[in-house]
């Protein structure tokens, strides 16, 4: 019922991103993140993806920023060193919350789309057919690479070259992964290009399923909410 149309989806994301980037109040960003963004992600069943992303990408960064701004620098940017550790911590929280929020907004915009509709939405945003194919391929190739890297490690394990399958031991296989991965990438690329050419797939991709139109109500709700978020953050800067 609240699905926005592609244009509203793009516009709402853009407004919300600008609003988040302009935000200067750490508490406000945290509150909006917890009370608006997280429930929205949960409704779209993206909680697991987002939580994993936050734990791996945002939390370690947040801890580092709090230590650096709060303890080492001991002040917010532009203030004398050691003058206000609490302000430094507040700045670290603001940066981390903004990054989590921006990541969540992007995930809400792109990952909530059924994959078959991605190219249609990109087309509505004015992305040319080559751009659509590149972006769509980029989303599919990442799991493919993870699978291939896993296969290489498994093969080394089977040959007795890897002692155990702990995270650290697996990560130490990096030097042995590089060459097979690049060779695989180029070889697959060449084969894929030949197949695309033979089957005329690039032309067929243009006829990809069009995106759902969405509802007027859904479009209006998202755009108004994003515009309000932008206004809330813009107003203190103008004043």
């Amino acid at each position: 019922m609240l699905t926005p149309n592609p244009i509203a989806r793009g516009l709402a994301t853009l407004l919300a991103l600008i609003g988040t980037f302009l935000a200067r109040d750490a508490m406000l960003v945290v509150v909006v993140y917890l009370l608006v963004l997280l429930p929205l992600l949960a409704c779209l069943r993206l909680t697991r993806t987002h939580t994993k992303f936050v734990f791996v990408g945002v939390l370690p960064l947040a801890v580092g920023l709090v230590i650096l701004w709060g303890l080492v620098v001991g002040a917010a940017p532009g203030s004398p060193h050691g003058s206000a550790p609490a302000e430094g911590v507040k700045h670290a929280i603001l940066v981390s919350a903004r990054l989590a929020m921006i990541a969540g907004l992007f995930q809400l915009c792109f990952l909530s789309l059924p994959f078959g509709e991605l190219m249609g939405v990109l087309a509505k945003w004015g992305v040319k057919s080559d751009g659509q194919i590149l972006i769509a391929s980029a989303f599919t190739v990442w799991p493919e690479l993870q699978l291939r890297a896993g296969q290489i490690v498994t093969a080394r394990y089977a040959r007795g070259l890897v002692k155990n399958r702990s995270l650290l031991t697996t990560a130490r296989q990096l030097p042995f992964l590089l060459r097979p991965l690049l060779t695989w990438a180029l070889h697959t690329g060449i084969l894929r290009a030949e197949m695309w050419h033979q089957q005329n797939l690039l032309e067929k991709a243009r006829e990809a399923s069009p995106p759902r139109n969405g509802t007027v109500l859904g479009s209006a709700v998202f755009v108004i909410a994003a515009a309000a978020w932008l206004a809330v953050n813009l107003f203190p800067l103008i004043r």
């Binding site: 370690p60 050691g82 992007f106 080559d130 190739v141 990442w142 992964l177 590089l178 180029l186 290009a193």
Partner: protein, 218 residues
């Protein structure tokens, strides 16, 4: 439409050695794979807390194989999409990736990847360029300290009374050249290790001036 480079104009089929593939198909197939290499290696380096980034190997390798435009696309798109899947820090540095591809393409035309000494010098230059381009982004987005390994140096420089932008630039200069030397060496090592049948498909571009592939006699 993606414009093609000399590298992809000379692509020949494996069987006949004559039939040329449409360049657009090959570029569209290879760019996402280059992005995957960028993100894959970069995220492993990040996961095991290596003191280097290793997130531009795909950009450097693809620039050498496919040319500047493809390199820019690999770098920029991998960092934009990496912001969704890998780390929220990445999208802000997509401009740095574009500059890396441009720099690599420009110096590679003059044989900057010909031997190890040249590759090391190229890496140092690339590190300086990357530090210059990244510094304003780190100041604008994070206020100067972004939680990476170089941030500790930045924090101490700020604490010692230096200006934020100067501190970020100096800490970048301390870390980036080492990282970029390593990435350039790895990219060349990777390309040299590719099967000749695959490498031959990328002849006519930046590989020959750098002795990464032997020029075929007419």
């Amino acid at each position: 439409m993606i414009k093609t480079t000399k590298a992809t104009e000379g692509i020949k089929s494996q069987e006949s050695g004559v039939r040329a593939l449409p360049n657009r198909h090959l570029l569209l197939a290879l760019i996402p794979l280059g992005m995957a290499v960028n993100l894959g290696v970069g995220s492993i380096a990040q996961m095991i807390k290596l003191p280097v980034y290793l997130d531009a190997i795909g950009t450097i390798a693809m620039t050498l194989l496919l040319g500047m435009r493809a390199g820019i696309l690999v770098g920029v798109l991998s960092f934009l999409i990496g912001g969704l899947l890998v780390s929220p820090v990445l999208p802000w540095f997509s401009g740095t990736q574009a500059v890396i591809a441009i720099y690599v393409a420009l110096v590679a035309r003059r044989g900057a990847f010909k031997n190890t000494i040249r590759v090391i010098l190229t890496g140092i230059g690339l590190g300086v360029v990357a530090a210059i381009v990244s510094a304003p982004v780190i100041v604008a987005v994070y206020g100067g300290v972004d939680g990476s390994g170089a941030s500790v140096i930045t924090a101490f420089l700020i604490a010692s009374g230096k200006q934020v932008i100067t501190s970020v630039f100096l800490s970048g200069l301390a870390v980036e050249p080492v990282d970029k030397i390593l990435q350039c060496l790895l990219a060349v090592w990777l390309i040299k290790g590719l099967p000749k049948t695959i490498l031959r498909r990328f002849s006519g571009g930046l590989l020959e001036p750098n002795n990464l592939i032997k020029q075929e006699k007419q």
